[in-house]
Amino acid sequence: MATLQCEIVSAEESLFSGAITLLSVRGTIGELGITPGHAPLLTGINPGAVALHLEDGSEEIFYASGGYLEVQPGFVTLLADTALRAEDLDEAQAEEARQQAEKAMEERNAETEFSSAAAMMAEALAQQRTLEELRRRSR
């Protein structure tokens, strides 16, 4: 089966490097599925889960809070702002982040604060979605 070399790096560490058959990610204008032979593409990504289908049919899930995705015919590079292995995501932390974001949005008094709170909220929700996804698959 044709494969694609995939690298996921964040500013702190290299998270994944290896052959995959499919990468699915939430791009700035919608869900993307990258398979081998995809045309060269450069896009921003939204906070959310990054799912990789490995050669042996297993699946790995990461969480990225934003960044850029480069696709070349033979390989794909994900430059994440902050990325985590989904297993490392902490449910309690994600919930706390969401509540904090909610509170920040309620107490907003300036437009700039609102936008930063909204970004916080989007991130927290994306984390929770990733966790749900992970739970659903492991069932």
Binding site: E12, I29, G44, Y68, L79
Partner: protein
């Protein structure tokens, strides 16, 4: 016996200095491990983004950012990464020397130079030679944050966008191993396309959502990450150089103490011999 009191004092003070240098050596060794780890962690990201950017420079986007277009060089900018503190051997001096050499070469061609300086050590040096300094980012500390550097980077990038400078270089020390740190000057702007035949044909990315926005964001992140990585790497170099410098200082102190001890022993022995000679000659006279 008052013989060699000054020498004894001298030995004591050298020993105290030695204690300090050996303590600093150990501190530098433990910090070096930490800074090296940080450097290794950041490396994959900065390498990857560099390769993405070099692909981008080879592509033929519908939108050409000013950062991607080479133009006639009348004035260039340097971002010089130095350490915050001294006592690290020739680390800073070697780097400054290679920057000054390049500045002299450019000057001979009638090209002027603007400097953006990172770290405490660069400021006094370049001020003393009367260079044109446009941005200073002192006190980067041991765990620098990108946020501390953004302001200074911005100044240089704006100068480039406005056409004040036509090229931008990044000068810092490359960490080769604990013993060697090599001063290097790398071109940041305009982007240098990678020499890779696989990308020579005419092609372009699909951009989502929009080439301009995407390229701008990506370029800014690229430049920040390159400068940040250079600062981190220079930090690792600083600790390594400091460790070596302090190791040498400790060894030199040891040598100095040995020499002084020899002089002291000689003087003491001479005094004893003289005293005995005096007693003997006194007894013979009786």
């Amino acid at each position: 016996m008052a013989v060699g009191k000054e020498i004894k004092n001298k030995i004591g003070s050298v020993q105290n200095t030695q204690k300090i240098t050996s303590a600093m050596q150990m501190v530098a060794a433990s910090k070096m491990r930490r800074t090296q780890d940080r450097m290794q962690q950041g490396k994959p990201y900065s390498d990857r983004i560099r390769s993405v950017i070099s692909h981008l420079a080879n592509a033929n986007p519908e939108y050409k950012h000013t950062f991607m277009e080479a133009r006639d060089v009348k004035r260039v900018g340097f971002i010089v990464v130095s350490s915050d503190r001294g006592l690290c051997g020739g680390l800073n001096v070697n780097l400054f020397r290679s920057v000054v050499k390049q500045m002299a070469e450019l000057d001979a061609k009638g090209i002027e130079v603007d400097l953006g300086l990172i770290g405490n050590k660069a400021g006094p040096f370049f001020r003393s030679i009367g260079a044109n300094i446009v941005a200073v980012m002192p006190d980067v500390g041991e765990s620098p944050a990108i946020a501390d550097l953004i302001g200074g980077i911005r100044v240089m990038l704006d100068a480039y966008s406005e056409g004040t400078i036509d090229q931008l270089y990044l000068a810092g020390n490359d960490f080769e191993n604990t013993m060697t740190q090599a001063p290097t000057v790398r071109q940041l702007l305009p982007l240098d396309p990678a020499d890779d035949d696989a990308y020579k044909h005419r092609w372009d990315y699909i951009y989502e959502p929009d080439a301009r926005q995407l390229i701008e964001g990506l370029l800014l992140r690229y430049l920040e990450s390159q400068v940040y990585q250079a600062v981190i790497e220079n930090g690792a170099c600083e600790q390594a150089a400091k460790m070596i410098a302090m190791k040498n200082a400790t060894e030199n102190a040891e040598k100095l103490i040995d020499e002084l001890q020899l002089i002291y022993n000689n003087a003491r022995q001479a005094a004893i011999t003289q005293e005995i000679a005096e007693i003997v000659s006194g007894a013979a006279a009786v």
